[in-house]
Structure formats: C-alpha cells, structure tokens
C-alpha cells in the first residue's frame, strides 16, 4: 500500500510539474505579433504588474462583470488558498515563521471552498446561459473539487485521522525518503480518498482549463504596455513577409486547383 501510493504520488507530482512547465513554456515562447492591450492600459511597464495583480488578487474584471459569479469564484479561491496554507503542517517539521498565525486561528477553509464551489455548480444549473456553455468536464471538475474539499473537511472535523501518521508519510515524501521507518501510508479510508482525488487533480491539471492559473499571466490584452506609438515590436515570423499575391493563376496553382 505504502509503496503504491509513494509511486503514484511521485508520478502525479511529476506529471503536474512537467505538464504545467511545458504549457508555461509554450505560452511564453509563442510570439505576440501585434500590440493588443485592452485599453485603457498602463502606459509604462511598471503599471502592468499592478494590473495583473488586481486581477489575480481581487478578480477585478469579474467583479465588474457579475457580483454573484465573483462571490462564488472568490470564496472558492480564498478557501483553497487558506486550505493550502493550513496543509503546511504536513510538510514541515516545525512551523515556519509567519505561518504559525494560521495554526492558532481556527477556521474552516474547506467550508469556504465548498460554499464557493456549490454556488458555482448551482449557477451552471440555474442560469440558462451558463447551462448552455457547460459540458461534462465542467461539472466533473466541480464535483472533483467538492469531493476533495469535502473529504478534507471530514477528515479534519469528523473522522479522527491519525495526524501524526499523515505528517510522517507526507514528510517522507517531500524529503525524498518515503520508505523511512515511521513513514507508512495512513490507513483511514477518508484519507485514502482525499489523497487519491488530489493526485487525480494534479494529473488532470495541466491538460485542463485549470491552466488559467498560469495562463492569466500570459494574456496579451492584460500584460501588454500601451506604448505602440513609442515602441515598435515585430514578431520574428513577421519580419520579412512576402506581400500577398494578386496573381490569380499563381493562387490556383498553389492551392492545387490549376
């Protein structure tokens, strides 16, 4: 059992990291041949991080668009952030400075997540426009996240999962000595489900719309400086383009219709 989950854990993590990096690499290297910032936009490079952070931290445009979707999305992401922070205790032997605040502050990040996710799910069912654009994977992803948040909350508040054992197993994983003397896979079913679903999420992440987490930083309408009159850009592929032909016969030949 331990061996199996150690192998699965490392495999999932490897797929996640390599997959995300590959996508990020692709986004980074694809050229943006034209200046397309959605204006009004920052006119200096220093304004761009402010713009992007206002989206990442506050979901500014979503707030402008629709307060209900904003609330649902914001609750979920804040809950997720708090939950991730709280998981630090499974990964570090001692509490890192600054994070101990969260250890003493009792809260329910899982419930915040569930509230947001529930609302997101409801929106897909209730609003005809959202229903129209939803496909199976949209629902499945929400269910997966609900299941992860749900099992996590249950493991913490209802089932007495052996925290020490979980911590030893996780620390074994992150210290690359997974088969240490104390490090065996916790046997509680709720933990097994929670852990497995997280692995599934990690594997699915780079291939799914969850890539918005990285992609938001690469969006040309939001990350470009509004200075096209001052600064000339030309994509490598556009440097020496031949003028489009107007010779009808030449065209027909090129498209195999001569």
């Amino acid at each position: 059992m331990t061996v199996l989950f150690v192998v699965l854990g490392y495999a999932a993590l490897a797929i996640f990291i390599v997959g995300v990096l590959a996508k990020v690499w692709k986004y980074g290297k694809t050229p943006a041949p034209l200046k397309i910032p959605q204006t009004p936009a920052p006119v200096t490079a220093s304004g761009v991080p402010v713009r992007i952070l206002s989206e990442v931290v506050f979901f500014k445009s979503l707030f402008k668009s629709n307060r209900v979707i904003w609330l649902a999305g914001y609750l979920f992401h804040i809950g997720l952030l708090l939950a991730l922070i709280k998981h630090y205790r499974f990964l570090f032997a001692s509490v890192p400075a600054g994070l101990d605040y969260f250890a003493t502050f009792e809260m329910y990040p899982g419930l915040i997540m569930l509230g947001g996710l529930g609302l997101l799910f409801l929106l897909r069912l209730v609003v005809d426009r959202n229903m129209f654009i939803s496909v199976m994977t949209d629902y499945v992803l929400l269910i997966l996240l609900i299941a992860i948040a749900g099992t996590g909350t249950l493991a913490k508040h209802y089932f007495r999962v052996d925290i020490t054992q979980v911590k030893e197993f996780m620390m074994g994983l992150v210290s690359f000595s997974p088969m240490g003397s104390n490090s065996t896979f916790p046997t509680e079913l709720i933990f097994l489900i929670h852990f497995s679903l997280v692995l599934l999420l990690l594997v699915y992440f780079p291939f799914s719309k969850l890539m918005h987490a990285a992609g938001v930083f690469f969006s040309p309408t939001r990350n470009q400086v509004d200075n096209p009159r001052e600064k000339r850009i030309v994509a490598p592929w556009a440097e020496n383009l031949p003028a489009p032909t107007t010779d009808v016969e030449e065209v027909a030949e090129a498209h195999g219709q001569a």
């Binding site: 694809t30 034209l34 959605q38 445009s61 654009i133 009159r229 556009a238 107007t246």
Partner: protein, 527 residues
C-alpha cells in the same frame, strides 16, 4: 390521388455544393422593409436564450475571382478539413493570444450577457464564450490530450461541414469590438479568435464577400469605395466650391501636394458619404484656420483597413503599406488620421509594427496623431476659436467607438480616448449629456455594424446588434432631449444612418464630432 398531388407540389430538391451548404442561410433572409428594431424602452434586458435564433444570419460568400485575387483558393478546397487543421496549428504558433485563450477559459459565464449581438438576437451561440467554443471544439479535438481522450465529454468535436457552417455564421456575427474582453477575468479577447477563424476560412476557400471585395478594391483602386484618383480629385474640387459658397472663404481640400506639413489619412467615406462629409469639412476648416499646409493622398486615400477584420496580417500590412508610400511621396512632417474607429486602432496600435518606424516625420509630434488630439490641442492653445452657440440646436451625446475605446488611446494618459473627444465636443456646444455609464467608455456597446459586418446581407443582425446602444440613446433622448449622437467612426456613421429609422429615430441624429467643429469654428482673420 393524394400521391400525385404530393408529387406535383413537391419541388425538385436543390443539390447544394459543399460551399453552398456552408454559406446558405437556414431560412431565407427577411426583406429590408420587414426588419424592425425592438421597441425603445431605455433599458437593456438580458434575454432568455433561444437556440438557433440567429443561425440564419450569414453574409454572402465571396466569388472565386476575388478570393483568388487575394491569394485564397477560389472554392472550398477538397482537402479543406486537413488544410483548416494545419492552418489552425500554424496560427496557434504565431499568436500568443490565440494559444493562451484556447486553453484558459473556465466558462465562468461572466461574458455571457455582454455581447450586443447576443442581447439583440437572443441566440446563445452569440454569447462570447459560446462563440469561442466553436473554435475550441476543434482545437480540443486536434490539439489537446484532453480532447483526444475524452472527446465530446470535454467539448471536443470533429471539424465537419455542419460545424464549418456554424463557424461561417457565428464568426460573422462578431464585430470584434472586445467588450467581452473587458469583463473576462483573464481578458480573453473574442476578436482574436474570430479573426483567426476568418483567416482559416479564407485559407480553405470560404471568404466573406463584403470584406474581401473591399480589400480587392483597395489593392486595385486605392480605397474602400473604389474611387480612383481622378474621381477623388473631382469630388474634392466640387466640395471646395461648396465650401466657398457656404463660408465665402477659400478653404482648400488639397490632394497629393508634395511637401505639405500634414498628411491627412481618412476613411474614404468621408469624401462623399453622408454624414461623413460634414466631418471632412470640419477637418478642412480646422487646418485652414490654423494656417497649416496639409494634403490628402490619392495613394493613401483610405484610413480603414479591412485586413484586420479578416484577421490576415499580410493583407493588413499590404493595405497599410499605402500610407508608407504616401509618406515617402509627400514627405510630410505630421501624419494625422480622420474619424474612423478600427482605422485608429490600426494606426495607433499596428502601423508602427506594420509600416514603421516613422523616422521621416517630426519626432515632436505623436506618430500618428488622431484628428481629435490635433484639434483639441489647437483649441486649448487658442489657435482656433469655437462659438458654442452655433450648436445650440443640439443636445449632444457621445458614442465611444469600440476600437478607439478598447483598442487604442489618444493623448498621453490612459483613458485619453474618452476624455479628448468629450472635451472637444464640450468646447463646441453648450448642451452635452452622457449616456448610461454601463454603455460608455470601456464598456461602450458596438454600433452593431463593425468588424466587417456593415453589409446589407446582414441587415437584420445589424438592427438587432444596435439594440443596446439604441436603448441607451433613447434614455437620454427621453430624459434630456438628446438629438445628436456624436461619432468618430465612419462605420458607426454609416450604420446609425441606416439603423436609426428602423428604431423610429431620425437618421440626421447621427453625425461626426468634426461636424460640430465645422459648425462652431470661427473662420476669418485672427485677432
């Protein structure tokens, strides 16, 4: 008996070619006289979705000859499927916007009620996310692991003729106004996606008649209206005569005058369409009164550039290159662009890339400049004087053009594209009123005719798409007696002139910002 009757009335089924299948409207187009706008109530409400409500909106297909003149195949390629996928792969590598926007949409729904064409047609495939999904279906199927494994469960679909027909319909119901992008948490720009879709369609032999015919005209004659230099010269001369009659002054409309200080590039509609020409008179009066030598160019007699609408970089560059030729010929110090929305986006955002750098122009001025930047500067410096009372018949409101509002800027500060035209209008009239804030500035609604859709075969769509702006205008019409819709775009002007009567509003309500300037400017000797 019944049998023979049935056979007798049955029409011979028409066998459509693949090309016709893609371009054929599902129901016949309505006659122009049967098209009417919604009742004006001053409020924009979000409709319940009606699937397929706008599926019939399809523009005419471009004929083979003009397709080939632009370097595209004359008919739907027999290998269109493979050619389309290959082209898609190429564009994904060329455009960061396309690649990123294919991957990161979470379908949150924020954009679903933001498109004027959805609000007007009620067709859910006109919701920005649903429009983009038509592209993403194909992307997922051929370019993603998720789509290859999960197929339809992940929203992946094979590119077949039916889907291509939907592409042709719905990617020609996007005016590339980018309103959706303002509200998207990731700034996903549907214009980038519809441009890519149109480029792919051209590449496989399915082009839109209106846009492609116009580009052919630009390449062959020099402007969108197909006005040759001789005709242009004659028009300008007769307009000069009219101007002299009206004002008693020799106000010139110069053409091809080498060495003029200012090269003026304006949409060709300004040369004789109404109300466009009123703004042209405004430009001429401004230059005259400022005492600046200026000229139009017969080589660059078009500021508009439909290459953007078809998403084709090379075509856009080829159209823009006429401006470069004109600069080399005229050798002006300054380059000024007239009232045109998409033209200003291209001039402001793309010219430097496409035909820059503008090293021969005077570096003390913006390169290029918008006519509103130029005129307001003259007003602020006292170089020209405006008599506001000349526009006392009007209660003016301003319609921000989408491409200026969200794709460009004026002046030095962010948002100058909003403040500069407004300051200019307020300097020329006494009564100005702002429309609802959800419909102006960065949230402005498209006029309904932008992005290459200003064609009568899409008239019903244009009327429906104008609905949000018409409701907002109606509100200030009722509350403040607004009777002048000030515009800075040739497409907006043509669109509103046609559409206003469909909503029971007089078409003379639409006019240019420089029309107001033309009315108010004090001509004659300076004190």
């Amino acid at each position: 008996m019944a049998d023979t009757e049935a056979t007798a009335t049955k029409e011979e089924p028409k066998v459509l070619t693949d090309l016709e299948k893609v371009g054929e409207p599902i129901v016949p187009r309505k006659k122009p006289n049967d098209i009417h706008g919604d009742d004006l109530v001053g409020k924009i409400s979000v409709p319940k979705v009606q699937e397929g409500a706008a599926a019939a909106n399809k523009p005419y297909l471009c004929k083979s000859e003009n397709m080939q003149k632009l370097g595209f195949p004359g008919d739907l390629r027999t290998d269109w499927h493979d050619a389309a996928i290959a082209k898609m792969g190429e564009l994904l590598k060329k455009y960061k916007s396309l690649q990123v926007y294919m991957d990161i949409c979470v379908k949150c729904g924020a954009c679903t009620d933001k498109c004027h064409y959805f609000l007007g047609t009620k067709d859910p495939k006109n919701m920005p996310v649903a429009r983009a999904e038509l592209f993403r279906k194909v992307y997922r199927k051929y370019f993603t692991t998720e789509g290859k494994i999960l197929g339809k469960l992940a929203g992946a679909e094979r590119f077949d003729l039916d889907l291509l027909g939907e592409w042709y319909s719905y990617f020609h119901q996007c005016s590339q106004c980018r309103r959706c992008s303002v509200f998207c948490p990731y700034g996903i720009d549907t214009a980038e996606i519809s441009m890519a879709a149109r480029e792919i369609m051209d590449h496989i032999g399915i082009g839109q008649k209106y846009v492609n015919d116009i580009i052919v005209k630009v390449h062959e004659v020099g402007n969108n209206l197909g006005m040759n230099p001789k005709a242009l010269k004659a028009t300008l001369e007769s307009t000069e005569e009219d101007l002299e009659e009206e004002t008693g002054q020799k106000i010139r409309l110069p053409l091809d005058e080498v060495g003029a200080e200012v090269l003026m590039v304006t949409p060709s509609a300004d040369f004789f369409a109404s109300p466009h020409v009123e703004s042209l008179l405004g430009y001429a009066k401004v230059f005259h009164q400022a005492g600046i030598s200026w000229t139009f160019s017969s080589v660059a007699s078009e500021a508009g550039n439909f290459g953007m609408f078809m998403g084709n970089y090379s075509q856009m560059q080829k159209v823009a290159s006429r401006v470069k030729l004109a600069i080399d010929e005229i050798k002006p110090k300054r380059l000024i662009v007239g009232e045109c929305g998409h033209a200003w986006r291209i001039a402001y955002s793309f010219w430097n890339t496409l035909i820059g750098p503008f090293d021969s122009l005077d570096p003390n001025y913006k390169r290029p400049e918008h006519i509103c930047e130029y005129t307001l500067d003259l007003v602020n410096r006292g170089a020209i004087k405006l008599d506001k009372s000349k526009n006392d018949d009007f209660v003016v409101t301003f319609h921000d053009s989408c491409n200026v509002a969200r794709g460009a800027r004026m002046g030095d500060k962010p948002g100058g594209q909003f403040t500069i035209p407004r300051e200019l209008i307020k300097a020329s009239c006494n009564r100005y009123v702002e429309m609802d804030e959800e419909t102006i500035m960065e949230k402005t609604f498209c006029c309904g005719g932008g992005g290459g859709l200003l064609t009568d075969d899409l008239l019903e769509l244009r009327v429906q798409g104008a609905m949000p702006r018409m409701q907002a205008f109606h509100k200030v019409q009722e509350s403040h007696g607004a009777n002048f819709l000030a515009l800075i775009c040739a497409i907006c002007k043509a669109q509103f002139t046609k559409i206003l009567p469909k909503y029971g509003v007089g078409m003379d309500v639409a006019g240019g910002v420089h029309q107001l300037i033309a009315n108010a400017i004090e001509l004659g000797a300076k004190e």
